[in-house]
């Protein structure tokens, strides 16, 4: 690695005939490599009554292959100090792992094997199902998770994003092993797979290893991904609360639909969001709710990113007795955010922060690999990091105000919380 930003001159990008794309960037001082990427399918493929099917299928991949049972598979990974994980999101299945550089071919061969040749053993099916159900049961008692689940249901309504990728206890309980096998046969394949790697390996060597492993994977059964249905935002404000009596703290989420990630608005709102609830000790809302009122340890705002619809939201953890007070304070800050431009000082601060953070984002192999994936997923182009400073510099206070007014419609806020019952 050197002090220059990764760009089209230093990033290797290659696409194979099977639809796989590799992005590689060297950090030859590192004895390790980190890789990450995504492929089809995502939870959007789940049928209405089987929420959690895609995620369950992915969880089964790491339980053994036709050649290696659970113990032998994980022994191969852990005995060399490597790691390999997969998980399913709305639109894709993501994977990541790391290993010492001399073990990369071994790990990528195992990655292909677990995706291509999973065993789907009955014993593992029951075990994984129990683990998922236990995870759901724990989530159902988690105020942050329940407030978030209620928020997604309220915001997305009939859109598939309303449902948790992991599914519900009832839907997961009804999934059969044969469904997982069929889902796997018809949805997994190399077409659309993106793999990014950074670390102590020359990009050319990474390309050769990819050619011998992921690049030769063929699948005739992989179907095209489902088209994302249109999203209709809520027409009115929504307020809901999930009662969890035993909890000492309530979690709160307030939000609205976010701009599309691949848009000028998104860049503008990223800067605006930093002022609202990220910069320093969580921006304006951190100052109002935590620093001045002392109501919360955690309060911040988040601008979602993704190919499909996402949310722009505020999250806070507060004492149940202070829930309404916190909502009032946050609404006051949103009113200010949508009625007057941010100050020039605020704008300058978050711009210099965003520009200064660029070198920090390339501090680690994992940070760079994650950037490479974003460049590909959002089609930003390999020179995006070099172009970003000019984009950031061009954003004005008036643009932020206009975007805030466009997205934060205070008459259509979705507010959800979980904790002790509201009296």
């Amino acid at each position: 690695m050197n002090n220059a930003m990764p760009d089209s001159r230093s990033i290797l990008r290659e696409t194979w005939s099977n639809g796989t794309t590799l992005l590689a960037y060297p950090n030859l001082t590192s004895p390790a490599v980190y890789f990450t990427g995504y492929m089809q399918p995502g939870a959007i493929e789940d049928a209405e009554e089987f929420h959690g099917l895609a995620s369950f299928t992915t969880d089964m991949l790491m339980t053994g292959t036709k050649r290696l049972n659970f113990q032998r598979l994980h022994d191969k990974i852990e005995s060399i100090g490597a790691s390999l994980s997969l998980g399913t999101g709305h639109l894709s299945t993501t994977f990541f792992g790391q290993c010492l550089r001399e073990d990369l071919e071994t790990v990528w061969s195992l990655l292909v094997e677990v995706i291509q040749q999973p065993a789907f053993a009955e014993k593992q099916f029951k075990r994984v199902r129990n683990q998922i159900l236990t995870g759901i049961a724990i989530q159902n008692q988690d105020t942050a998770a329940m407030a978030s689940q209620a928020f997604n249901l309220a915001l997305y309504g009939s859109h598939p994003y309303a449902h948790p990728d992991i599914g519900y206890a009832q839907s997961v309980s009804g999934i059969r092993l044969e469904q997982l096998q069929f889902f796997h046969e018809t949805h997994y394949g190399p077409n659309g797979l993106v793999l990014a790697v950074c670390g102590g390996i020359e990009p050319e060597n990474a390309r050769e290893i990819c050619s011998r492993t992921i690049g030769v994977w063929q699948s005739n059964n992989q179907c095209s991904p489902k088209t994302l249905p249109p999203f209709t935002p809520p027409k009115n404000s929504i307020r809901s609360h999930i009662a969890l009596e035993s909890k000492n703290q309530s979690d709160l989420i307030m939000g609205v639909p976010a701009p599309k990630t691949i848009s000028r608005d998104y860049q503008v709102c990223t800067i605006g969001n930093s002022i609202l609830g990220r910069y320093g000790m969580m921006g304006r809302i951190g100052k109002a709710v935590r620093e001045k009122a002392g109501l919360a340890y955690e309060v911040s705002s988040h601008l979602g990113a993704g190919i499909g619809p996402t949310a722009w939201k505020i999250a806070a953890g507060v004492n149940p007795g202070n829930l309404e007070k916190a909502i009032t304070l946050l609404k006051q800050e949103l009113l200010r955010f949508t009625s007057e431009p941010v100050t020039q000082q605020e704008l300058q601060d978050v711009k210099t922060q965003a520009l200064g953070r660029l070198p920090l984002s390339i501090e680690t192999n994992a940070g760079i690999a994650s950037i490479l994936v974003s460049l590909e997923r959002y089609n930003y182009g390999l020179d995006h990091l070099r172009q970003l400073p000019a984009i950031i510099e061009s954003i004005t206070a008036d643009e932020i105000l206009a975007a805030a007014q466009r997205y934060w419609d205070l008459d259509k806020l979705v507010i959800t919380s979980a904790g002790k019952a509201i009296k």
């Binding site: 852990e78 683990q131 724990i138 909890k247 000790m281 955690e298 920090l360």
Partner: protein, 434 residues
């Protein structure tokens, strides 16, 4: 390839006692600055638990030179990130910044070593923030169980106390308590300054001398507890409460991190519950699916997950194992399985192959963080807080010298049933959440 952590390392001590450690790493235009104070739960007296952590919060509230907002801006404005942590043994503050702004962080740390204000209004605001932090943790049964087990794991040593402090103490601590604690523990002779990254060592040393050299160290009244003798009767904590999953926690004493026995204990941890990463910042770990406890508990359906944690402390601490038990599962059956596995460890020697495997895993974990400047700066201070930097630099070599007979001896010394505390949280199913 061997990882040489001593490469480009520079260490000096200023006349006022401040230890300074510098490490040149030019892989990215970034520096990470950490300052460590010997102030943690270990130094707190009954009735005043949570003092160290609360002082940490107040260090972001303003000094004679910088307002709280200035402190925020100094780091954020240039794209850096900063935070602080309090543990049983130490409190630490760090800033990772574009390297051109290193002077700013040094100026801030030098100033707040001596001139934080502890404004009474800010103290009161922070009281509710910290109570909110505690209440957020109390939402989780695992936290409540762990706190209860910790209290029983030591009879008098302050390691028994939660770092956040008890709610009762948090309600009673005064501004004077906080300020007195600050003035006593925050001084050069009780601090270690660690800087890693894109630096020129001599220029940085000159800057450090200029900013910190004039701060004098006064008398330090250190509350140093006497390490406790080993437990000679086991203990049991039983809790019941709302929830869906049950939790099981077992805590055994472990040696101080500086004790030669600690490395053999690390091998035991790796084998029983999986290898722990010493990294603090997202450089990843290794899964524990081939560990003996995972195989016996999860693969045999006694638990949904299991993990372990071996603490590296100044005084003898604890090694803990946590298991999450399925709603229809039985924590007592899981405990029996753990007992069987511990019995195996304490009754026969490991193979050399098993030790070699643990070493390879540790080597990989070190390699993963070697590209992370923030971690490298963390390690310098972290190891120096309970031993010295050679503890980290020689970690792999010392693991490599552990023999099967040593592991057996250590297992027999520490993992006996009468030396452990068992905690069981039995969930009472509810109809909540609808």
């Amino acid at each position: 390839m061997p990882i040489n952590l001593n490469h480009n390392l520079h260490q000096v001590q200023l006349n006022n006692g401040l230890r300074v450690m510098l490490k040149e790493i030019h892989t990215a235009p970034v520096t990470s600055t950490w300052i460590w104070y010997g102030s943690g739960a270990r130094n707190e007296l009954p009735g005043k638990t949570g003092l160290s952590h609360w002082v940490e919060h107040m260090q972001f509230k303003g000094t004679r030179k910088f307002t709280g907002e200035d402190i925020d801006n100094l780091v954020s404005r240039v794209g850096g990130y900063a935070n602080a942590f309090t543990s049983s043994d130490w409190t630490t503050y760090f800033e990772t910044m574009p390297s051109a702004h290193l002077h700013t962080t040094l100026e801030l740390e030098a100033d707040r070593m001596v001139s934080s204000l502890f404004d009474p209004v800010e103290v009161e605001t922070e009281r509710t923030v910290i109570i909110s932090e505690r209440e957020g943790s109390e939402n989780y049964p695992e936290f409540r169980l762990d706190e209860a087990v910790q209290l029983r794991s030591f009879l008098a040593h302050p390691y028994r106390n939660e770092v956040l402090g008890s709610k009762e103490d948090l309600l009673g601590i005064t501004r004077d308590d906080l300020y007195q604690h600050y003035r006593n523990y925050y001084q050069p002779a009780n601090a270690i300054l660690c800087i890693a990254g894109d630096i020129s060592p001599q220029a940085v040393l000159d800057d450090v001398e200029n900013l910190f050299g004039g701060i004098s160290s006064g008398p330090l009244t250190m509350s140093i507890p006497t390490p406790e003798k080993k437990l000679d009767t086991g203990d049991l904590v039983e809790m019941k409460g709302p929830g869906e999953a049950h939790y099981l926690e077992i805590s055994w004493r472990c040696p101080a991190a500086s004790d030669p026995d600690f490395f053999a204990y690390g091998i035991i941890e790796s084998l029983l519950s999986g290898p722990s990463s010493l990294n603090m910042f997202g450089s990843g770990g290794i899964s524990n699916r081939t560990s003996r406890l995972y195989q016996a508990l999860v693969e045999e359906d006694y638990a949904a997950s299991v993990f372990g944690d071996l603490s590296a402390n100044i005084d003898p601490g604890v090694y803990k194992v946590f298991a999450t038990i399925q709603p229809e599962g039985d924590p007592w059956a899981a405990l029996k399985v753990i007992d069987d596995q511990v019995h195996r460890i304490t009754s026969r020697e490991l193979s050399v192959t098993e030790i070699e495997r643990a070493i390879k895993q540790a080597r990989a974990l070190f390699a993963y963080s070697s590209d992370n400047i923030t971690n490298q700066a963390f390690w310098m201070g972290y190891a120096s807080s309970f031993a010295d930097y050679q503890w980290v630099a020689e970690y792999l070599t010392r693991l490599g010298s552990v023999t099967p007979s040593q592991v057996l001896r250590i297992a027999q010394k520490y993992l006996q049933a009468e030396q452990r505390v068992v905690g069981v949280y039995q969930a009472t199913r509810t109809q909540e959440g609808s």
